[in-house]
Symmetry: C2
Subunit: 332 residues, 2 copies
């Protein structure tokens, strides 16, 4: 299995899981001090990484919350924000321009800022009231599972918090093994479709952000593969007409409440395209996770699966995932 180190995945997972107490203290302090609104803002793949938590908050609680691109917040402002608001931002480099500018603007408004950043001593960290530096820690979502589900729990929602996060202790092993289980299918997919001129990617609910960001921030950005991503129910309002026998269509589906939307897509596309693939989190065992918690983990499981596509594509096409035409090579 290429570009894969099981122990490293487990170690990277543990790097974040060991911060459980530190993160829980932040959550407890947020609840104790009180807030009127939880505001998530970032850019690109970082925003997409946080989007599922807005989804879970809306599903599981009455806590007022919203996500907004930092570029939009900077121009449009947000009338719901007050000095009782808590903002959540994330950036791997800690210096993404719009995200940093959003943090500055939020700080001026007296908003409490939480950030998750990949490197130490970043500008974003310096602007934050609370910051988790995750370095090689993966997946970053784990920070938010602990933080956001703890907040919900302390606010009287999601009673199962302790048991849920206890369950996650060995999720790193499961996510490594999901990769092993998915690799053969992903190699096959990568070989067949790495040269396709156009790829329709479809997903829904808490997996829509994964669909959006994997196709744009991985396939487009680092493999220069052309994609169109669309939400499962929206597929039927236009993109459906592009489906022909030789059009490559990829569906990602998870265990959250919108699975039925994906099944409708599957039932249709598998009849009309011979280049249809469905990646389904249900196909992967997670021995450390109770059945009832799997529904909240679709994004991290699906990302583990999809990573095997990109890790294989970069070798098959001899196009490193790190090559860019423009990003951080030019000013724009």
């Amino acid at each position: 299995m290429i570009t894969f180190n099981r122990q490293e995945i487990i170690d990277n997972y543990q790097y974040i899981y060991k911060k459980r107490n530190e993160i829980e203290k932040i959550a407890d302090d947020m609840v104790e001090k009180g807030f009127d609104y939880l505001f998530f803002t970032s850019s690109g793949g970082s925003m997409a990484m946080m989007d599922p938590f807005v989804f879970y908050l809306n599903q599981l609680s009455d806590i007022k919350t919203e996500g907004m691109l930092s570029a939009d917040y900077l121009i449009l402002d947000n009338r719901k924000i007050s000095d009782k608001t808590i903002a959540f931002l994330t950036s791997k480099s800690g210096d993404t321009k719009e995200t940093v500018d959003a943090a500055k603007k939020l700080k001026e408004k007296g908003v409490r800022i939480f950030s998750a950043v990949g490197v130490e001593d970043s500008v974003l960290e310096s602007l934050s009231d609370d910051c988790v530096v995750y370095k090689s820690g993966r997946p970053q979502e784990l920070i938010f599972y602990i933080l956001i589900f703890r907040i919900m729990n302390k606010m009287g929602y999601f009673e199962d918090y302790e048991d849920f996060i206890d369950n996650l202790e060995k999720l790193g092993e499961d996510l490594a093994d999901v990769r092993i289980a998915a690799d053969e299918k992903c190699i096959d997919y990568a070989r067949k479709y790495c040269k396709e001129p156009y790829n329709i990617w479809i997903g829904s609910g808490d997996l829509w952000p994964t669909t959006y960001s994997y196709s744009m921030c991985v396939l487009e950005e680092s493999q220069w593969i052309r994609t169109k991503s669309v939400r499962s129910p929206e597929f039927f309002h236009g993109t459906i007409e592009l489906v022909e026998d030789d059009v490559c269509v990829t569906l990602v589906t998870g265990e959250g409440p919108t699975r039925a939307q994906d099944e409708r897509v599957k039932n249709f596309v598998e009849k009309y395209s011979s280049k249809f693939t469905c990646f389904d989190t249900k196909d992967y065992d997670m021995p450390h996770i109770k059945e009832k918690y799997r529904q909240y983990l679709s994004p991290v499981v699906m990302n583990a699966v999809l990573q095997r596509i990109s890790k294989n594509i970069e070798v098959i096409t001899d196009h490193s995932l790190d090559i860019r035409r423009y990003y951080r090579k030019l000013e724009y």
Copy 2:
């Protein structure tokens, strides 16, 4: 000028404008009876048509509002909805399945339902407390300019309401003349790019829904042209890497607050693609509209411009805008 009848456009506009009093009465009654939340829900292009009004409400008022796809509402519900909520739905046929099912669910919850429907005696109309049947009336947005801006006005926002809607009286003429002014550029665009294998469409703010829906519900659905649509600031987080000299990129830009996001895209793409086009509402005169109101009209102006692309493409490619492979030809 093909498939164009100036008088018909003006008459269709007037068909809705003449309902001004009727629509204002509905708005006044909504404000008088009170509400806790304005909820917009529909599917595909109909949802995209209403999305700018969520944008304007958020920009101009503190009224609690949100948009949600009907397919998502049906599965995920929405904890903010109460029997004091008003819901807005629209469907040309009045029988779009998810939209009708959402109306049924909303009715059960005691929500006041407003709908805009293209035909008389539809299921959606029968489920609505208030319904505007627009028949050949265009653009449907006019119903919402009157309804939503009147609600804002009566709630203490947007003082200029009367003058704004007075200004719109002859917008139909302006929108017909915008089409005339845009036609040459659109013919040229249609001829050059109707066979492109992949088209990147970019837009932002209140024109993002237009970008999304024109590319999906017109180019994809009725011309089987492959597109990828992306928000202007998000373009820089992935899709940018696909830009090469021969990649067709189309930017739509308007006069709303996010124009600077589009200018950043323009400055970049015009350097790296020789197949770059920018459609800009600023290029079109609207003698009946005061400068200060143009910022709210970008979606209807841009739709008038873009319609000239599709009207010309269908003739150039001899592919009628009414042909479908699947929609309403198969069950799915």
